[in-house]
C-alpha cells in the first residue's frame, strides 16, 4: 500500500473510527485500525466486536493494499505532526511508514488477516432518520440503563416509534428515563434494544453527522450510514418490560422547584450523604415548606429549605440523590416538577411545560 492523503482529513477519521478500538483486550489485532487503500480512497475500520466503525478519506493511491496499525499510536503520531498539508503512507515489510514534511515514522503493523470484517445487516428494514433526533433521544436516557449484564434487555436503550415520535427508554429498575422525540422525518421503527456498551459510541459517532442517517436493522444487528461513515452495532434480542404500566397515574403531592434551587440543594446533600446516598424530602404544605435532609455518621448532617410551590398532602420520602440528580442532565426547562404518588411509590420528575422527558425514581425503603 502506498498513498498520499490530507493529514487533517485522515486525523479526523482516525479519531472518529479509532474510538472503538483498543477496548478489547482478548484479541490484540482489535487494538488496531484496519487501513485499506483502493479506488482512490483510504478506508479505515475499527471494531471491538460489539460495535464496528468504518470511514474513508479521498487519497492519491499509488499502490493499493491493506494493513493494520495500533489506533492509539497512529492517532498520537498524526496528532504530533504539523498542522495541514499532505502526508504519505507506505507499508513495507511489517511496518507502515508515515511520512510528513519533516520526517518519517515507522509504525509496527499487526496481522491484517486476523481483522474481522464488519457485519452487514441481514434481511433488515431500512429507515431514514435525522441524526439529531436519534442523538437527542439516546442522550436523554442512556445513563439510566442498567450496568449489570444479568438482564441484557435492561442493560440497553429501548427504542420504538409511537405516533410519529421516537421513544427512547432506559432503566436499571431503580429509576427509569423516557424521552420522546418528535421525528422531523416520521419513520416506522420496530422496537430495538441497543446495548449500553455500544450506545454511547453510536451516539458520539452520529454527532459528526449533520443531516440524515440511513438506519438498517434486524433483530440482532443495527447499522447507520451517512456520508462516508458506516457504523454497526449488535442489538439485544429480548423483550423490554411494558414499563408504561408502572408509571403511576395518581398524584398525591406535586412540588414545583426552580431547577437551579433544587439542584443546588441536592449537590449540597451530596456532601453529607452516607454511603447509601440517601436524601430525604420533607414536604409540608401547611407550612409551605420543603426540606431536604441528609445525614452521615462520619461527616455530619444538613437540612436545607428549598422554595417551591406545593400542591397536595404531607409527605416524607427518601431517595438516592445520585439518581435524582441524574434527571437534571436531560431537563432543559427552568422549573421542574416532582410528582409524588405517596410513600413507597415512585416519583415522577419532569420539566415544567415539557412532556417529552419523563423520569421515574423509586424511593428508598428506610
Amino acid at each position: 500500500m502506498k498513498l498520499e492523503v490530507s493529514k487533517e482529513a485522515l486525523f479526523a477519521k482516525v479519531q472518529l473510527v479509532g474510538r472503538v478500538s483498543g477496548k478489547q483486550v482478548t484479541l490484540p489485532v482489535l487494538q488496531g485500525i484496519f487501513l485499506e487503500a483502493r479506488e482512490g480512497r483510504v478506508f479505515l475500520r475499527a471494531t471491538n466486536l460489539d460495535i464496528g466503525l468504518e470511514g474513508s478519506v479521498a487519497a492519491k493511491i499509488e499502490r493499493e493494499g491493506v494493513c493494520v496499525v495500533s489506533a492509539s499510536v497512529l492517532s498520537q503520531v498524526l496528532g504530533s505532526m504539523t498542522k495541514g498539508g499532505m502526508i504519505s503512507l507506505e507499508s513495507v515489510e511489517g511496518s507502515l511508514a508515515v511520512g510528513g514534511v519533516h520526517g518519517v515514522s515507522r509504525l509496527a503493523t499487526l496481522d491484517h488477516t486476523e481483522f474481522p470484517s464488519l457485519p452487514q445487516v441481514e434481511g433488515g428494514e431500512t429507515v431514514v432518520l435525522q441524526a439529531s433526533d436519534l442523538i437527542a433521544g439516546i442522550r436523554s436516557v442512556w445513563f439510566a440503563a442498567s450496568q449489570s449484564s444479568i438482564k441484557p434487555e435492561l442493560a440497553s436503550v429501548y427504542l420504538y416509534e409511537e405516533n410519529g415520535s421516537m421513544v427512547c427508554v432506559a432503566t436499571d429498575s431503580f429509576r427509569l428515563a423516557e424521552k420522546k422525540v418528535r421525528m422531523k422525518k416520521p419513520a416506522q421503527l420496530l422496537p430495538l434494544l441497543v446495548p449500553n456498551r455500544t450506545v454511547v459510541d453510536l451516539m458520539r459517532t452520529l454527532e459528526v453527522c449533520e443531516g440524515d442517517v440511513t438506519v438498517t436493522f434486524s433483530s440482532n444487528q443495527l447499522s447507520c450510514s451517512f456520508e462516508d461513515v458506516y457504523v454497526t452495532t449488535r442489538l439485544v434480542d429480548g423483550t423490554f418490560p411494558d414499563y408504561r404500566q408502572i408509571i403511576p397515574a395518581d398524584r398525591v403531592t406535586t412540588v414545583v422547584f426552580l431547577k437551579q434551587d433544587i439542584l443546588q440543594a441536592l449537590k449540597k446533600a451530596t456532601i453529607f450523604s452516607d454511603r447509601f446516598n440517601q436524601v430525604t424530602f420533607v414536604v409540608e404544605p401547611n407550612k409551605k415548606k420543603i426540606t431536604l435532609e441528609a445525614r452521615s455518621a462520619d461527616i455530619g448532617e444538613m437540612k436545607e429549605v428549598v422554595e417551591g410551590a406545593i400542591e397536595g398532602d404531607d409527605l416524607t420520602i427518601s431517595f438516592n440523590q445520585k439518581y435524582v440528580i441524574d434527571a437534571f442532565q436531560s431537563i432543559e426547562a427552568d422549573s421542574v416538577s416532582f410528582q409524588f404518588s405517596g410513600p413507597g411509590r415512585p416519583v415522577i420528575i419532569q420539566g415544567v411545560g415539557d412532556d417529552s422527558f419523563l423520569y421515574l425514581v423509586m424511593p428508598m425503603n428506610k
Binding site: 482478548t26 484479541l27 474481522p116 470484517s117 432503566t171 429498575s173 440482532n220 440517601q278 423509586m362 428508598m364
Partner: protein, 455 residues
C-alpha cells in the same frame, strides 16, 4: 426436541470436547475472542446449530473457522454433516457482585411483572421452539402449524381442548407469537374469555360498546383462552357470536381453547357450538409415557440441568398428573440439587417427590351421583327415586356402570346404595351401557367427561 439418534454425548459435552480440541489449534487470544460464549443450540438431522453471541462472530466463524469446527466435531460424532451458525440470545450471565446495598435498601420498579406485551397479551416465553411434540399432541401441533401457514384460510376457527396443564395455552400463544414474528404488521390479540367478559361488562357500563366492538374486530388473529368460562353468560356469548361472525366473514383467524369439547360445555348457546364446530376441533390427550420422558428431558435441558436417564424414567413413571405437575417436580429437584451442589441419587429423588405422587382418591357413591346428576342437569334425588322417566334412567344406568367398572363395587351393593334396587337391575344396566358404548360416540364422550370430572 431432543435427539438421541446420533450419539450418547449430550450437546454440552460434545461442544466442550470440540472446544478443547479447537483450543489446541488456535491461539489463546483467538479462542477467547471467538469461541467463548458459544454453545450448541440444537442438533437436527446431522446438522449442528451453534449459537454465537453476535453477527460479527457468526460471520467470522463461518468465514475463518468453519473447517476447524466441522473437523473437530466430526472427530467426536462422525455422522455430523454440517455446522450452521445462529445468533442466540445472550445466555444468562453469572451473577455479578452488584452493589448489594442497592438491592437491600432500594425498592425496585416492579418491572418483572410486565414482560408480557400489553398490546397483544402474549407471553414471549411461549413459542413453538419450546413446545414438546409427542403422540398425544401432534395433531394439535400440526393443526397449529397449518393455521400459522394459512392464516384464516383453513381450520377457522381452530378449537383446541384438553384437560388443564396439557399445554393448550402454550400452543395457542405460540401461534400468536409465531405470527407476530412472521408478520410484524398483523394484529394479534390474546384474551381469556373471562377478560373478554369483563371488558364487555365495562363497555356496557361506560356506554362504550361501539369502542369495544371496534377494538376486538380490528385483529387479524384473535386467540381466546378458556372458553368454558363463558358458560351461562348469555350476553357475552351473544357478543362473541357477533364478533365471531364479523371476524370469520373477513377471513380473520380465530383460535379457541377450552377444557372440554364445545358440545359438552354447559349453558353454551347452540349457535356458538355449531360455529366452533365448523373449523377444526382437536383434543390434546394426556401425555403418554414417552412424551413425558421427552418433556422432562427438554425442560431439564432448557435449564441446563443434568438428569440421568434412570432419574427421568423414574419421575415420568411415578409422578402422576399433567405437564405442569411434572415441571413443578423438576423445579423442586433442580433447586435441591443446586442447594446440595451434587446430583441426587434415586433414593433422594424418591424422598423428594413423595408428596407429588397423588394418592388414589376415594370417592363416595354420593359424589358420583352428584357429579353425574349435575352433568345431565337433573335433580340428584330423582336418581334414588323409583321413577322411570327417560332423562333419569340413563344417568342412573351410567352411575351403576361407573360404580361397577371404575370402582369395582359389587352388584348388590350398588343396587342397595341407589335406593334399594335389585342386583339384576344393576346387572342389566351395566350390560346396557356397555353395549351402548360400542355404538354411541356421544355417550363415549359423555363418559370421558364425567370420568375427567371425577378425577
Amino acid at each position: 426436541m431432543y435427539n438421541t439418534a446420533s450419539a450418547s454425548l449430550s450437546n454440552r459435552e460434545l461442544w466442550q470436547n470440540t472446544l478443547t480440541d479447537i483450543e489446541l489449534n488456535v491461539s489463546k487470544a483467538v479462542f477467547n475472542t471467538w469461541f467463548k460464549g458459544t454453545h450448541i443450540v440444537k442438533r437436527e438431522s446431522g446438522i449442528v446449530y451453534v449459537g454465537v453471541p453476535s453477527q460479527i462472530c457468526k460471520d467470522w466463524l463461518s468465514d475463518k473457522h468453519h473447517k476447524t469446527i466441522l473437523e473437530a466435531i466430526r472427530g467426536f460424532v462422525p455422522d455430523i454433516r454440517g455446522v450452521e451458525y445462529v445468533i442466540a440470545k445472550e445466555s444468562r450471565q453469572p451473577e455479578e457482585h452488584q452493589s448489594q446495598k442497592n438491592e437491600r435498601l432500594h425498592s425496585q420498579l416492579p418491572l418483572h411483572e410486565h414482560y408480557i406485551d400489553r398490546s397483544d397479551n402474549l407471553n414471549p416465553r411461549y413459542t413453538f421452539d419450546s413446545f414438546v411434540v409427542g403422540s398425544f399432541n401432534e395433531l394439535a401441533y400440526a393443526a397449529s402449524q397449518a393455521v400459522v401457514n394459512n392464516l384464516g384460510i383453513i381450520y377457522n376457527p381452530l378449537f383446541i381442548y384438553g384437560a388443564t396443564g396439557h399445554g393448550k395455552t402454550h400452543l395457542i400463544q405460540a401461534i400468536g407469537n409465531h405470527i407476530k414474528k412472521l408478520y410484524p404488521n398483523k394484529k394479534v390479540f390474546y384474551v381469556t374469555s373471562e377478560k373478554f367478559g369483563t371488558d364487555y361488562v365495562t363497555a356496557l357500563q361506560n356506554n362504550s360498546v361501539e369502542q369495544f366492538k371496534a377494538k376486538y374486530r380490528q385483529h387479524d388473529l384473535l386467540i381466546m383462552d378458556d372458553i368454558q368460562f363463558m358458560s351461562g353468560r348469555e350476553k357475552t356469548q351473544e357478543e362473541l357470536f357477533h364478533l365471531f361472525n364479523s371476524l370469520y366473514e373477513n377471513n380473520k383467524q380465530i383460535v379457541f381453547s377450552s377444557d372440554q369439547h364445545p358440545n359438552y360445555i354447559q349453558k353454551l348457546e347452540d349457535r356458538l357450538k355449531s360455529r366452533f364446530g365448523q373449523g377444526m376441533i382437536i383434543d390434546i390427550s394426556p401425555p403418554d409415557h414417552e412424551s413425558r420422558v421427552a418433556i422432562l428431558r427438554t425442560k431439564a435441558a432448557q435449564n441446563d440441568f443434568f438428569l440421568s436417564d434412570e432419574a427421568i424414567e423414574f419421575i415420568a413413571t411415578t409422578v402422576e398428573g399433567n405437564i405442569r405437575d411434572l415441571e413443578g417436580v423438576l423445579n423442586r429437584i433442580m433447586c435441591h440439587a443446586q442447594l446440595k451442589n451434587t446430583t441426587l441419587t434415586l433414593d433422594e429423588l424418591r424422598a423428594l417427590i413423595k408428596d407429588s405422587v397423588k394418592p388414589q382418591k376415594n370417592i363416595s357413591h354420593k359424589e358420583i351421583v352428584q357429579c353425574v346428576a349435575s352433568f345431565y342437569d337433573i335433580d340428584e334425588a330423582s336418581i334414588y327415586e323409583k321413577t322411570r322417566k327417560k332423562e333419569v334412567v340413563k344417568p342412573r344406568q351410567l352411575i351403576m356402570y361407573l360404580m361397577r367398572n371404575d370402582f369395582s363395587i359389587s352388584y348388590p351393593a350398588i343396587g342397595q346404595k341407589l335406593g334399594g334396587r335389585d342386583h339384576t337391575t344393576v346387572i342389566h344396566s351395566c350390560e346396557k351401557i356397555k353395549h351402548d358404548l360400542l355404538e354411541d360416540t356421544a355417550l363415549q364422550q359423555e363418559l370421558y367427561q364425567i370420568r375427567a370430572m371425577l378425577k
